[in-house]
Amino acid sequence: MRRFSWFNATSLTLGFAFLYLPMVILIIYSFNASKLVTVWAGFSTKWYGELMQNEAFLDAAWVTIKVAVISSTIATALGTMAAIVMVRSGRFLGRTLFSGMIYAPLVMPEVITGLSLLLLFIGIGLDRGVLTIVLAHTTFSMCYVSVVVSSRLVSFDQSLEEAALDLGCSPFQAFFLVTLPIIAPAVISGWLLAFTLSLDDLVIASFTSGPSATTLPMKIWSSVRLGVSPEINALSTIMIGIVTIGVITASLVSKSTVARQQREERAAERLSAG
């Protein structure tokens, strides 16, 4: 193997510095005592304190979490169903349209998705608020879930499910006892993806929400337009922290799941060999 060259080391260092430096600066300056965001005036956590006092932000955070949990859960159920349909159902009437509708939202500009859903909600006279944001988020994130889950389903050995059916499981039981546990990592990462997409969305939420519901990104948006503020830095730091912990935990869990599965497989091989 060739030695890891200077060129590669430099490009990796510079590349990751570019990716991470802006966020590191943001985190450092969230602990700045000064109101002036670009002048360092000593360490302080007062902006976190002020954030906790800010009713508007707390309300928006609550709305955001509510929307994200509900919409990602529905999206995971619908997306998993759609993935099973795509991978297993063979031909049926309107299949092309179905797969088109699954893939189109992935490339659709958010402004268009938002605009079209808003026009629908107004057309049918639905009051805009938490419900409409949930409907909108569910619709686009279920497509992401279905792409993630169907890539797992394709490599899934269907004979396992057939064996369960032969041994007297109902199709329903076979799905919940055999298929679901095996595709669970994909379903969980689909849920996480849907959750973060919902947490992060500004454009679609702005179109589909009414005066009664403001999400955190919308709140951040309206204050950021006025410029950089230490409070937003503090809020961003909290959000970056939550995501980082979540992603690292998820990857550790999936790593230990894979390791356990490999152990079990080896044990099974030994048993059958012995």
Partner: protein
């Protein structure tokens, strides 16, 4: 029966919340602006039956589309979106390729960590990542402070609220989309091919040009599309980092809708934006198809 329910539930959901809204956009794009709630005519009056439907159809026309061709703001916005998307895709490629290359050449035990480090920003809020650049690029921002204290410049550079800031923002936020496909192409690349080229007299640089680049072509194409397509309709980056002269169609649509409250024109802008996107999307899918066939 069970199969029917399995198909019907997601199908009906997508029909009702994806296809129908889209048809409504198309319909409103063909309507006229009107001072009413909702602010356009004609509206479909179902109770009037067939006659109502005929009235409704005769009220539709292409006026809004003609309006878009007459006002050069829209032409310029479409063209400048394409231009900004193309330039920033090129920059993303130039920044992303060396990173992907370095990752593919890194020792095996580093790779999962490096991969995770590329994916992690993708999970962090898009809005926050764009916002983080406002503090860096502004006139009294960290970049200008650093450059001035190093004595490299005497006057602060004006970067925020220019197109340069938009390019930086796009390269930064879409970089993982470029790195990942190129990395997966480079990772599969057989190192002995490059050694063979060098044994046969290629210099390292020409081996790179003649072997590595062509063999990672699929990854490059996929990465470019993954950056180019979403950038065209981008709204957040040009609004936060761009200036008043930054013209992008996503921003125009937003303003048409929220500031001018001209729904029919906003809808027409959306329809044309989609038509523009169809070509790169089809090309992208062809490329993916080719890749799948090559792998089989």
């Amino acid at each position: 029966m069970r199969r029917l329910i399995l198909i019907a539930v997601p199908y009906i959901w997508l029909l009702a919340l994806f296809l129908v809204p889209f048809i409504i956009v198309l319909k409103i794009a063909l309507s006229d602006a009107w001072l009413a709630i909702p602010p356009y005519v004609p509206t479909l009056d179902i109770s009037a039956g067939w006659a109502g439907f005929k009235d409704f159809l005769s009220g539709l026309d292409f006026e809004n589309f003609i309006f878009l061709t007459e006002d050069d703001l829209y032409w310029k916005a479409y063209l400048s979106s394409l231009k900004i998307a193309a330039i920033s895709t090129l920059f993303t490629l130039l920044v992303g390729y060396p990173i992907a290359y370095g990752m593919a050449k890194a020792p095996d035990e580093w790779r999962p960590t490096l991969l995770m480090l590329v994916i992690l920003p993708f999970w962090t809020s898009f809005l926050i990542r764009v916002y983080s650049w406002m503090g860096i690029l502004s006139q009294e921002g960290y970049l200008n402070q650093t450059l001035m204290s190093l004595g490299l410049i005497s006057e602060p550079l004006i970067i925020l609220n220019t197109n340069a800031a938009v390019y930086i923002g796009i390269v930064y936020t879409y970089l993982p989309f470029m790195i990942l496909p190129i990395y997966s192409a480079l990772e599969k690349l057989d190192a002995s091919l490059i050694e063979a080229a060098e044994d046969l007299g290629c210099s390292r640089l020409s081996a790179f040009w003649l072997v590595t680049i062509p063999l990672s072509k699929q990854g490059i194409i996929a990465g470019c599309f993954l950056v180019f397509i979403p950038t065209i309709g981008e709204f957040v980056i040009p609004s936060l980092l761009g200036g008043s002269q930054t013209l992008m169609i996503g921003k125009v649509l937003w303003e048409e809708f929220f500031s001018n409250r001209d729904w029919p024109v906003a809808s027409a802008v959306a329809v044309i934006l989609l038509l523009i996107l169809v070509i790169p999307i089809i090309l992208f899918q062809r490329n993916e198809q080719k890749q799948r066939e090559a792998n089989e």
